[in-house]
C-alpha cells in the first residue's frame, strides 16, 4: 500500500466511524422510543444535537485541562478507529493489534476523567470514580475474551483475525468456534457501552449525569461525538473478533448494527445496579463464562 493511500485511509476510517456512529446513536434512541411505544426522534436528531451544542454562545470551561480532557476523549477514539480494520481498509491494524486497541480505548475515558476532574464538581468526580470502578468490573471478562481470541487465532493482528475467519466461512467465525467467549464478550459489552443496567456512573437524578455534570456546549458536543465513536468501536471490535469481520460494507454494516442493538435493547428494559452490584455481577457471570470458554479453547 502506498503511503498516500494509507493517509487517505487514516482520514477516512474515523470519518466513516463517525457517520456510522451517528446512525447507531439514532438507532439507540429509536430503539428506546419503540420499546417505550413512542415515536422517537427524527432521523437527523443526533446531528441537530451536535450542531446545536457546538453553536452555543456560552462554552463554560473550568480551565485548560477541562478542554484537553474533551480533546483526548475525541482524539483517543479517532486514533482507535485507525487500528480497527473495516472492509477495504486495514489502516494500522498490523501496527498495534487487539491488545493495543484495548488500551487505546481506555484513553478517551481517562482523558474525560482528567477533564471532569478539573471541574471541581463532586458529582463529576463521583461519576468518574464509579466509571473507573465499572471499568475494573467489565474489563476483567473483556480482557479474558481478548486473551482467548488472540490465543485461538494465534495472532493479535485484527486484520489476520478477520482473514482467518473468512477463510473458513461462517463456520469458522469466532462465535461458532468459541460461543462461550462470545457470550461473555456480549455481557461485558453492556458495561463497555455504559448502558443500563451498568450506567450508575451517569445516574442523572442522583449525581446529575456524573462526569457530564459541568459539560456545556461544545464540551457536551465532544462527548456526543465520542459516543458515536464508542458505539461504532465496540460494534466493530465484536464483529471482528466473533462475527468474521466484514468483507463488504453491505454485510458488515448489518453485523455491527445488530451487535450494538442487543445491548441497547437490554438497556431499555433494565433499571440500574449499584456500583458494588455491577462489580459483583460482572465479576461473577461473564468471568465464569469466559473462564469456562477459555478452558474449552485452551484444552
Amino acid at each position: 500500500m502506498s503511503p498516500g493511500e494509507l493517509i487517505i485511509e487514516l482520514f477516512l476510517m474515523p470519518l466513516v466511524a463517525f457517520v456510522v456512529g451517528l446512525g447507531m446513536v439514532l438507532m439507540y434512541r429509536r430503539i428506546g422510543a419503540r420499546i417505550q411505544r413512542r415515536v422517537g426522534p427524527p432521523f437527523f436528531q443526533p446531528i441537530y444535537d451536535i450542531i446545536k451544542l457546538y453553536g452555543k454562545h456560552t462554552q463554560i470551561s473550568h480551565g485548560l485541562i477541562h478542554e484537553i480532557g474533551i480533546i483526548m476523549a475525541v482524539g483517543g477514539y479517532v486514533a482507535a478507529e485507525t487500528l480497527l480494520p473495516v472492509p477495504g481498509m486495514s489502516g494500522l491494524a498490523d501496527k498495534g493489534g487487539v491488545v493495543t486497541l484495548a488500551y487505546v480505548m481506555m484513553i478517551p475515558s481517562l482523558g474525560l476523567a482528567l477533564g471532569v476532574g478539573q471541574c471541581a464538581n463532586p458529582n463529576g468526580s463521583i461519576g468518574i470514580s464509579r466509571a473507573l470502578t465499572a471499568m475494573l468490573a467489565y474489563d476483567i471478562p473483556f480482557i479474558l475474551v481478548i486473551f482467548g481470541a488472540a490465543y485461538v487465532y494465534g495472532t493479535t493482528n485484527l486484520a489476520d483475525i478477520i482473514a482467518i475467519q473468512q477463510q473458513q466461512g461462517p463456520g469458522g467465525w469466532g462465535i461458532v468456534q468459541m460461543p462461550l467467549l462470545a457470550l461473555a464478550a456480549l455481557l461485558s459489552l453492556q458495561g463497555i457501552m455504559g448502558k443500563q443496567p451498568f450506567e450508575i456512573y451517569i445516574a442523572p437524578a442522583e449525581i446529575a449525569t456524573g462526569p457530564m455534570v459541568e459539560m456545556s456546549g461544545k464540551f457536551m458536543g465532544g462527548l456526543f461525538v465520542m459516543q458515536c465513536f464508542q458505539l461504532y468501536t465496540v460494534g466493530v471490535l465484536y464483529t471482528t473478533l466473533f462475527l468474521g469481520g466484514g468483507e463488504y460494507w453491505l454485510t458488515f454494516l448489518p453485523k455491527i448494527f445488530s451487535v450494538v442493538a442487543i445491548p441497547m435493547m437490554i438497556a431499555f428494559v433494565f433499571p440500574r445496579y449499584r456500583t458494588e452490584d455491577v462489580i459483583r455481577l460482572l465479576w461473577k457471570w461473564p468471568v465464569l463464562i469466559a473462564l469456562t470458554g477459555l478452558a474449552v479453547v485452551l484444552r
Binding site: 415515536v39 426522534p41 427524527p42 436528531q45 444535537d49 456560552t58 480551565g63 442523572p204 459541568e214
Partner: protein, 245 residues
C-alpha cells in the same frame, strides 16, 4: 414592578442588535440559519419543578405526547440545558435557586413559565412568601398559563418557543445581560442588598459583548461593593529558583 418592565423597549433593541449582527458573508448566514434551526430542533430542558404543574410534564414526555419527536429531551444540569421550565409557584427561597440555576445555563437559554403562578402569582398572589411575577427577575420567553395547563398546552407552548427560536425572536437571554441592573434591582429588593450569585454576570456581559447602558447601574454598584472576586483561576506559570540570602 411589572409596569416598569413595560417601559423597557425590548423588541426594538433586539431588532437593532440583530441587524447589527447580520453578517456579510452569505455562507455565514446560511450557517447561522442552520445553527438556529438546530437549536430549535434540539432543546434540552431543565425542569425546575417548583410546584404542582410538574405533574403535567411526564405525560408530555412519555408515549402519549412524546416530546422527543420534537427533539426535546430532559437534562439534569443547567450546564447542559437550553430551556428552563419553571412549573408552578415560586417561593422566595426557591427563586434564589432559580436565578442561580438560570445564570449557570449556557446561552442561548430560554425560560418557560408554566402555570398561572409564574405569570402573576396565581392563587398565591396574596402570599408573603412567593415571588409573584417571574419576569421581574428573569427574562421569560414563553408563558404557558393555566392551573394547571394540560400537556397539550405544554407541547403547544414548546412548539411556539421552537418557532421563536428558528425565527430568531427568542433572544430574551440577551436582555438579562443588557438590563442586568434592572433584574438585579428586583432581586435585591427581594433578597436584600448583599445578594450575590457565583456567576459574574457583568463579566459575562463583557465577554459576550452585550454591555449596554442598562447593564450597569446603582444596583450593580451595590453588588460590586461587596462582591467577592470570582475570576477564574488562571494557570500560573512562573518557574524560579529563589536563592535565599
Amino acid at each position: 414592578m411589572s409596569n416598569e418592565l413595560e417601559n423597557i423597549p425590548i423588541r426594538q433593541e433586539l431588532e437593532v442588535l440583530q441587524s447589527g449582527q447580520k453578517r456579510t458573508n452569505p455562507l455565514a448566514n446560511v450557517f447561522d440559519g442552520l445553527v438556529k434551526f438546530c437549536r430549535s430542533r434540539s432543546m434540552f430542558m431543565l425542569h425546575y419543578c417548583t410546584g404542582c404543574g410538574a405533574i403535567e410534564l411526564p405525560p408530555a414526555m412519555t408515549s402519549r405526547f412524546d416530546m422527543e419527536r420534537l427533539g426535546i429531551q430532559p437534562m439534569v444540569t443547567p450546564r447542559q440545558a437550553d430551556i428552563l421550565l419553571i412549573t408552578g409557584y415560586v417561593s422566595i427561597k426557591t427563586l434564589k435557586r432559580i436565578i442561580l440555576t438560570y445564570e449557570q445555563m449556557g446561552s442561548p437559554k430560554y425560560v418557560i413559565g408554566i402555570c398561572s403562578c409564574t405569570v402573576n402569582g396565581g392563587m398565591y398572589w396574596q402570599s408573603y412568601a412567593t415571588a409573584k411575577v417571574l419576569r421581574d427577575y428573569l427574562p421569560v420567553d414563553v408563558y404557558i398559563a393555566g392551573c394547571m395547563p394540560r400537556p397539550e398546552a405544554v407541547i403547544s407552548g414548546l412548539r411556539e418557543l421552537m418557532e421563536d427560536i428558528s425565527s430568531g425572536r427568542a433572544e430574551s437571554w440577551k436582555k438579562y445581560y443588557q438590563h442586568y441592573d434592572y433584574y438585579l434591582g428586583n432581586q435585591q429588593k427581594l433578597f436584600g442588598e448583599d445578594w450575590q450569585t457565583p456567576t459574574d454576570i457583568i463579566a459575562e456581559a463583557r465577554h459576550y459583548d452585550l454591555m449596554t447602558e442598562h447593564t450597569l447601574g446603582e444596583h450593580t454598584a451595590l453588588l460590586e461593593k461587596h462582591q467577592k472576586p470570582l475570576e477564574a483561576l488562571e494557570m500560573r506559570l512562573s518557574v524560579k529558583d529563589k536563592q535565599k540570602v
